[in-house]
């Protein structure tokens, strides 16, 4: 094969969310709420020339057995507000926020992202997520209004509406000529209209076009519908595929879907989430990783995980004993309402059988089985081997880069930034410095062309004649 230029790796830093990745009991683990933690985390990422920082979101505190879940980090600040504040203490780092398309309205979200893009001089990105559940809906005006099978349809409509809104300004409207007194080239800018199954909105958007035109769009669903949504509408897709082969298969699959939307391979980046454990030697790293996994899956946590599969209270069960020999309860999931994780188990009885077989074959306790099956440490090794593996994944088209989540907040990222990044830079696979100023620049994405902010003319005929 002829030599081609090295593919450039994209790296992002995920501020840890409310799950068991974070070992909060570690004395080095800091606040997940105080702004200083976010500043420190963002500045480490920017020092290492990362593409962007990523924030997750959840709009209802997790519950299990009808009680607020208390074993993991609980609570997080508001996404938009933190990102806008971080724009003040960073200069180049992209700012990616997860914002729900079910419990928001396009006008508000579009103006928040357009505002963030202005206030960060072109660094805003939106990870579009959906939910449908009535559990989360209890915190919002409309409650659980959306049937599950319509959540991607609403997300598509929402995103399309938001795109129309931000595209409603061309960017040339503001003349601001003090002498002639002409501020706008024409009255009533930002005209838009959206009339579809989910939205019936029209009027004037009030945020002029932002530096990136549109925020960068991320999508995180791994389902067929989620992949299709990403291929049609997103600039990057998150995934979680641990092995090289699984990553390559996913990469092939989603990139293969682009052509029918008239899009090229480089227009959708595949960025899996990944954890890492570094050590002075391979053995040291493996030992560290095993300790961390045990911290992440305590006996109590193991029982909670098992309850999500078995869909029943296992509070009296011994996590150091064998995998339960009875079947999960089928039917409506009542033990952990609103948890995304319970949806992974499409066939709980088969999943439980696999867990039992794994436990019997390797003589593992329930907790040890859960440590195995929920394993998340992707990169374990010395800085050299981890850098080598990451580079190999990207060069072999298993991904375009990684979104890294450390298990210690906020300082856990520093080890990677200081030890692994320089090796990737030396290999010529990762930027030595930023070459552009916007997130689109970092990700190699072109500024999008504007779409018409208006539906077919007939719907607007009356409104338009006024101007």
């Amino acid at each position: 094969m002829t030599s081609k230029p090295r593919k450039q790796i994209h790296l992002a830093a995920h501020f840890p969310g409310v799950n068991n990745t974070t070992v909060w009991s570690d004395p080095r683990s800091g606040s997940h709420i105080e702004f200083d933690s976010f500043v420190q985390f963002a500045q480490i990422a920017e020092r290492a020339k990362f593409d962007f920082l990523f924030l997750a979101e959840g709009l209802r505190l997790r519950e299990q057995n009808g009680q607020i879940y208390d074993l993991d980090v609980v609570g997080r600040p508001d996404t938009f507000t933190v990102l806008a504040a971080l724009a003040a203490v960073t200069d180049r780092l992209g700012l990616t926020g997860t914002i729900n398309s079910t419990f928001n309205e396009p006008y508000e979200v579009a103006r928040q992202f357009a505002s963030l893009d202005h206030l960060s001089a072109g660094r805003a990105a939106w990870n579009v997520v959906t939910s449908w559940d009535a559990f989360t809906g209890e915190n919002f005006r409309r409650g659980g209004f959306l049937p599950q099978d319509q959540r991607y349809e609403r997300a598509e409509s929402f995103l399309s509406a938001a795109r129309r809104l931000v595209d409603s300004w061309s960017g040339d409207e503001i003349l601001a000529d003090k002498r002639s007194g002409v501020f706008l080239d024409a009255p009533r800018p930002g005209r838009f209209a959206v009339h579809d199954n989910h939205f019936d909105i029209e009027g004037h958007f009030n945020v002029p076009r932002s530096p990136q035109g549109r925020p960068v769009i991320f999508q995180a669903g791994d389902s067929d519908a989620g992949r299709e949504f990403a291929a049609a509408s997103a600039d990057a897709i998150f995934s979680r595929h641990g092995t090289l082969e699984a990553g390559q298969a996913f990469f092939q699959d989603v990139k293969g879907r682009l052509a029918k939307y008239g899009r090229a391979h480089h227009e959708l980046l595949v960025l899996p989430a990944a954890t890492f454990v570094l050590g002075d030697t391979e053995a040291d790293a493996q030992e560290q990783a095993a300790i961390i996994r045990k911290q992440q899956v305590s006996g109590q946590t193991a029982i909670k995980f098992a309850e999500q599969l078995w869909n029943r209270d296992l509070g009296d069960y011994d996590p150091d004993g064998p995998v339960p020999d009875f079947d999960p309860l089928l039917g409506e999931h009542t033990i952990a309402r609103g948890r995304a994780s319970v949806r992974m188990y499409t066939d709980p009885i088969a999943a439980a059988r696999l867990w039992r077989e794994l436990g019997a074959a390797r003589n593992l306790s329930l907790r040890e089985v859960i440590i195995e099956v929920t394993g998340r440490q992707n990169f374990i090794g010395t800085p050299e081997t981890v850098a080598g593996t990451i580079d190999e994944f990207v060069q072999a088209d298993a991904s375009d880069g990684f979104i890294l989540v450390p298990h210690i907040t906020p300082g856990g990222l520093a080890e990677f930034a200081d030890k692994v990044v320089p090796i990737l830079q030396e290999r010529g696979s990762f930027r030595a410095d930023y070459t552009g100023s916007t997130l689109r620049d970092h990700l190699g994405l072109a500024t999008p062309a504007r779409e018409s902010a208006e539906p077919p003319r007939r719907e607007l005929a009356g409104a338009r004649s006024a101007s």
Binding site: W24, S25, I33, E34, F35, V39, L59, R60, Q67, I68, D70, L71, D72, V73, V74, G75, R76, P77, D78, F80, T81, A84, A85, A87, A88, V89, E105, Y107, E108, R111, A114, S115, L116, H118, L119, S120, A121, E138, N139, F140, R141, E173, K178, G181, V182, F183, D185, P187, R188, F199, I201, E202, G203, H204, N206, V207, P208, S298, T301, S467
Partner: protein
């Protein structure tokens, strides 16, 4: 020693006069940049101003600030703005003493989102956050959301029973909205995060509370996803011109902005607000009554009156406002503020006619004048906005006091 005055500055675009963007010192092409807002707020902070408010709306700017009309057809006015909460957040890390009070429209938005946004603003500003709640009676803004119909109406229509009922309902909804926002701020007790490695518990879940709010307008379960903010309860403020609005403020706000044309009217409004406060059972609570004034201050080269006249001519109309318009020098303005103070007004929200000029006159001339009269601080005396306004950190409504029995 006289009671010190509180001063806030209301930031909006290039200033409150519609032609202010044409001033030689104006920066009309920078209104969407972080640097523009940072400069203004830092200037206000150097003047030891209690807080800035930042205007916002869910539609294009209109000519009438009281009841929203349709967008204007004029092309000689500033159009377009940024989300005020995000502007405040962007400025927060670059300031340290001044309070940040963005406007949040409560009619089409979610109290859950606004509560967590202002709580987070309180975290990123280390206790300097507030919010000015505003309702929207605009049919155009309602169409941006498509969730409810608000008929087109003019200010004069307020006298009709239909429009009065509509607006009255919007105020009741706003009161419920603020109640939800406030309950969510209290839905975590201060010491709920325990990080107890021995028992494996990150929080003491008995210190998190469902708010279970249910009304005709809203139903919200809680708790918030954000722990209780540094101030416990960030400041809530509202602009009020009519009795309905006084009632909302008396029920739910820490500060009400009122628009008395003179000090006699001020006394009447203060009386009305205090009566509503008593009716709301909040007689012991601090409720500040700030008078809003649009100010055009004399500079070394031009009187405020001349500047206003010049801007009026550029605009082709005499500037009118819901608030009293002051033109003159700093000493004269200080006299006026004292008069209002004697009528029971506790602070002022000054709307600069043009930015940055009238802001720099406020900080450079009015503030020193008030300091000479011992009516204004010489340094920030507290690190939180509540502290600056003489409000204690409130107890949590859900906390069970030590030793209390169930």
């Amino acid at each position: 020693m006289p009671e010190p005055l509180h001063l806030a500055v209301a930031l909006d675009g290039s200033g409150w006069h519609p032609a202010a963007w044409r001033e030689p010192t104006a920066s009309p092409t920078s209104l969407l940049t972080a640097a523009y807002w940072t400069d203004l707020v830092q200037t206000a902070e150097r003047g030891l101003i209690d807080f800035v408010t930042i205007e916002d709306s869910l539609g294009l700017q209109t000519d009438n600030s009281i009841v929203h009309a349709a967008p204007t057809d004029r092309v000689d006015r500033v159009q377009g703005r940024l989300d005020a909460v995000l502007v405040a957040a962007r400025v927060a890390p670059l300031t340290s003493g001044i309070g940040l009070v963005p406007t949040a429209v409560v009619t089409h938005t979610e109290p859950f989102h606004v509560s967590k946004a202002i709580a987070t603003l309180d975290y990123v500003s280390r206790g300097r956050a507030g919010v000015r709640v505003k309702l929207s009676a605009s049919s155009a803004e309602a169409e941006h959301f498509g969730r409810r119909h608000i008929p087109q109406h003019r200010p004069a229509d307020l006298a009709t029973p239909e429009v009065h009922q509509l607006v009255s309902d919007l105020f009741d909804e706003a009161a419920d909205y603020v109640e939800v926002v406030r309950r969510l701020w209290d839905s975590w007790e201060d010491d709920a995060e325990i990080r107890d490695a021995a028992t494996g518990r990150f929080i003491d879940r008995n210190k998190l509370h469902y708010i279970d709010f249910q009304s005709k307008y809203l139903s919200v379960k809680g708790p918030s996803i954000v722990p209780r903010p540094p101030q416990g309860q960030p400041l809530v403020s509202a602009l009020a011109h009519v009795d309905l609005a006084y009632r909302l403020a008396a029920r739910q706000a820490d500060i009400v902005y009122v628009t008395p044309p003179d000090s006699t009217d001020a006394a009447g409004i203060v009386h009305e607000v205090r009566a509503e406060q008593a009716d709301a059972g909040r007689i012991g609570d601090t409720l500040h009554i700030f008078a809003d004034l649009v100010v055009f201050l004399d500079s070394e080269t031009e009187t405020g009156a001349d500047r206003k006249a010049r801007l009026d001519e550029l605009d082709g109309a005499e500037y009118a406002s819901d608030a009293r318009i002051f033109t003159g020098g700093a000493a004269e303005l200080a006299d006026l503020l004292e008069h209002y103070q004697q009528a029971g007004i506790t602070g002022f929200r000054l709307r600069p006619g043009a930015l940055p000029d009238d802001l720099t006159r406020i900080t450079g001339a009015l503030v020193p004048e008030l300091q000479r009269r011992n009516l204004f601080r010489r340094a920030y005396e507290a690190s939180t906005l509540r502290g600056l306004l003489g409000l204690a950190r409130p107890a949590n409504r859900y906390a069970v006091s030590e030793g209390a029995t169930a």
